[in-house]
Amino acid sequence: MIALVDTEALGETVLAAIVAGVAVTLVFSIAIMGAARFAEESRGGRPVAAAAFAVVAAAAGVLFVALIVFGLVVMTSK
């Protein structure tokens, strides 16, 4: 009997879409939060906290770019 649905491919598609979609929004939100808090802490004269949020923003920004590049590589590799 022929399976109507390739459940493995469909499951992988759903999983990849959920992980990628949520991760992209989450990571970009962290980058924005980090950048906004960096600005607030800098204005408040708290350099250590400002530096910590700058690191968070930069790391999330790099991760966001990496996710976009990863998505493109996955697409072009097939």
């Binding site: 390739d6 491919a9 949520v22 989450l26 998505g71």
Partner: protein, 366 residues
């Protein structure tokens, strides 16, 4: 030039017209949220989407293969059947565009081809397993996943940035929308331009110009990419307005979450060869991003109209495709039927387009 070649030329031209209508009908998928949140000015947004749609068409051929092989029996298909199917899809696209409804061009195309094949050959040539497994089930699953991703994404985003000053946050998400909107346009190109490639490949196989199962030739890929990009640049302002402002009143964070959800679902689906509807996916993402903020934020009446159009698309396009095939057969099996239908279609489209353009008002940048 043989009569078969003449029909093939008409089919290729009709397929590219469909691709053009797909572009302007579905422009809204890529740019509506970016325009409505003022992340990108309208004209620049459609130009940006057009370029990325063109590029996206070259990325993968998985969807083209599904359309060409898994929906109808390629060996039973004639160029006239493909022609009638395309007319069914174009007609449904124009009807829904006329009413500003963001329906699925993909399902219109598949429905049209299935309808004309059914009338011409019968049930034996319809690959029911392929339609259910590769088209219908992903059509139900994909918008639901996009809805969930959009809702979860916006909930997380609000938790992270909700207590911060709105100005910098909105500016940040608008910047992000330039990227997420670009990804969506690219994803749209990979998924939708390929459907036309698949149909032209089907016609080439039917006319004996291409072996069954072979990849579409380069000229098919380039012309399909160019047609969808031109259509996208033309912009479907009516549908952009429905998608961008009538389903939910969107803020930049919601726009980003909706576009991120849509891009992720479409790119993942293209990778596995599911020819899903980009319109349905991004609509699901927009509704999810609205419902994640507040369920009552979604205008469910508008959402209901959109879902009704989705449900009607396959059977309506199939009925028009089947009827078109019946009309072409009134003139025999040669090129006369397609020529007559094309002439009638061009006249009708010109009339409709001119009337709608006179009535249409571009979405203001606000």
């Amino acid at each position: 030039m043989s009569e078969g070649d003449l029909i093939l030329y008409i089919v290729v031209a009709t397929a590219l017209v469909f691709d053009f209508t797909n572009g302007f009908h579905d422009t809204a998928n890529a740019v509506a949220t970016s325009i409505s949140t003022r992340a990108i000015p309208p004209r620049i947004a459609v130009a940006y989407a057009a370029v990325l749609n063109f590029a996206g068409a070259f990325i993968s051929l998985e969807v083209a293969a599904t359309v060409a092989e898994d929906v109808v029996e390629a060996g039973a298909i004639t160029t006239t059947i493909v022609f009638a199917g395309l007319i069914g899809a174009i007609t449904w696209n124009l009807i829904t565009w006329y009413f500003g409804l963001p329906s699925s061009s993909s399902h219109a195309l598949i429905g049209g081809i299935v309808g004309s094949t059914l009338v011409a050959v019968g049930w034996d040539a319809i690959l029911g397993d392929g339609i259910v497994g590769e088209v219908l089930i992903p059509a139900v699953v994909a918008p639901v996943v996009a809805f969930a991703v959009g809702a979860v994404g916006i909930t997380l985003a609000y938790r992270l940035v909700g207590s911060l000053r709105p100005g910098p946050v909105s500016r940040g998400f608008r910047l992000g929308q330039i990227i997420s909107g670009g990804m969506l346009a690219l994803a749209h190109g990979t998924n939708d331009a390929q459907k036309t490639m698949g149909v032209i490949a089907l016609a080439l196989v039917a006319n004996g110009n291409l072996a069954a199962g072979a990849d579409p030739p380069l000229w098919v890929i380039v012309s399909a990419a160019a047609a969808i990009a031109l259509g996208t640049y033309s912009g479907g302002w009516r549908i952009i307005r429905t998608m961008g402002t009538r389903v939910i009143k969107m803020d930049p964070a919601q726009g980003f979450a909706a576009e991120g959800a849509g891009s992720a679902v479409i790119l993942a689906s293209s990778h596995f060869g599911f020819p899903l509807s980009t319109t349905q996916v991004i609509s699901g993402g927009i509704m999810g991003a609205g419902a994640g903020k507040r369920v009552s934020a979604v205008r469910w009446g508008v959402a209901g109209n959109i879902v009704t159009a989705w449900i009607l698309t396959l059977p309506a396009a199939a009925a028009i495709g089947g009827a078109t095939y019946g009309i072409t057969r009134l003139f025999g099996t040669g090129a006369v039927g397609p020529v007559v239908v094309t002439a009638l279609g061009v006249a009708l489209v010109a009339l409709t387009f001119a009337r709608r353009v006179r009535q249409g008002v571009p979405v203001p940048a606000r």
